[in-house]
Symmetry: C2
Subunit: 194 residues, 2 copies
């Protein structure tokens, strides 16, 4: 089935019958994007809640001064969307851009509501997905409040070693909430320290 990667991921949370799997498969779209394209741009309506099959995205906010702040990266097995925009079908606050050629399983708003109706287990599944996302976001708040930039960088390296290899350093800096120059300084300090 085209949604096998998703089914494999879902099996950790809920067990679906063959009919339910087939129904899900019939409703869901596989989409491919090139590096540089956008899934959502600030002001758009976010049409899809997406499961990343392969590739990488960044979610960012551009402030009044035109500065970009990276909220999260998504790689294989992660979900991505502008949740507020998707749920309310209202203009997005965030940009979601592909940092690599990316393959997604995309679920539109209409489809997800239909799925909740026809396969109630999916309501449970998505509740659990959002719970995990919320917990991760709260932990990020805590790290930004309690850790220095250096420690946040070390944590990032440790927790997401795959991501650091795949994206330019200035984006890591933006994610950490510091300038690229300061991240450079931190890295050279870390090298001297050893």
């Amino acid at each position: 089935m085209k949604i096998d990667p998703l089914l494999n991921y879902m099996s950790k949370y809920v067990s679906l019958t063959e009919e339910e799997k087939a129904y899900l498969d019939s409703k869901i779209v596989l989409r491919k994007y090139l590096k540089g394209q956008y899934l959502v741009q600030q002001g758009d309506i976010c049409k899809y809640e997406c499961y990343v099959v392969s590739g990488c995205t960044k979610t960012s906010y551009v402030d009044d001064l035109g500065q970009e702040h990276i909220i999260m990266f998504s790689i294989e097995d992660w979900w991505t969307s502008d949740m507020a925009s998707f749920i309310n079908q209202s203009p997005a606050d965030f940009n979601i851009q592909f940092l690599e050629n990316t393959e997604l399983i995309a679920i539109s708003h209409d489809v997800i509501e239909d799925l909740y109706k026809h396969v109630p287990k999916l309501e449970r599944f998505f509740r659990q997905v959002v719970e995990k996302a919320f917990i991760a976001s709260q932990k990020r708040v805590v790290r930004n409040l309690s850790m220095t930039a250096k420690d946040r960088y070390l944590f990032f390296k440790e927790q997401y070693p795959e991501i650091e290899q795949r994206i330019p350093q200035y984006m890591v800096a933006s994610y950490l909430g510091i300038t690229k120059e300061f991240l450079s300084k931190i890295k050279s300090q870390l090298i001297m320290d050893q």
Copy 2:
């Protein structure tokens, strides 16, 4: 019914039958706490997901240096728990303390699982509650990345005017991620500015 405030809140999201309301009422506990008591302490298992009927709580994280960082306040109509601890029934990262005498509607882990089974609409309801919490948390991440301390303070004043009146200023400072001294400085600058 003892859970009327909660039912009123829920009616914005789902509509329950009288039987469902009665079932919910039978399963749910009303609890009262005094100012200063704890709902959860770091290391405890968070037993309840709670709806605040009246009063106020703070959720905080104490780091290795013993410094407290306030993650959120909850007042009337808000939910509070250590979500990670509650879901996995694992030791809590956070403290949740009452800043006023507080009345809660408390739902234990067993009960919530039972409710999901017997009243599937509640799975939908709680999905929506968590979605909102996630969106709020992501916005907090964005503000901490993109705004100066002064602007974060002005935003806080505007968005939560009720809360600022009810809690000491050093807790506002902790929530904003700055020292109490620096918040004092910001406030006196704001007074001079006008």
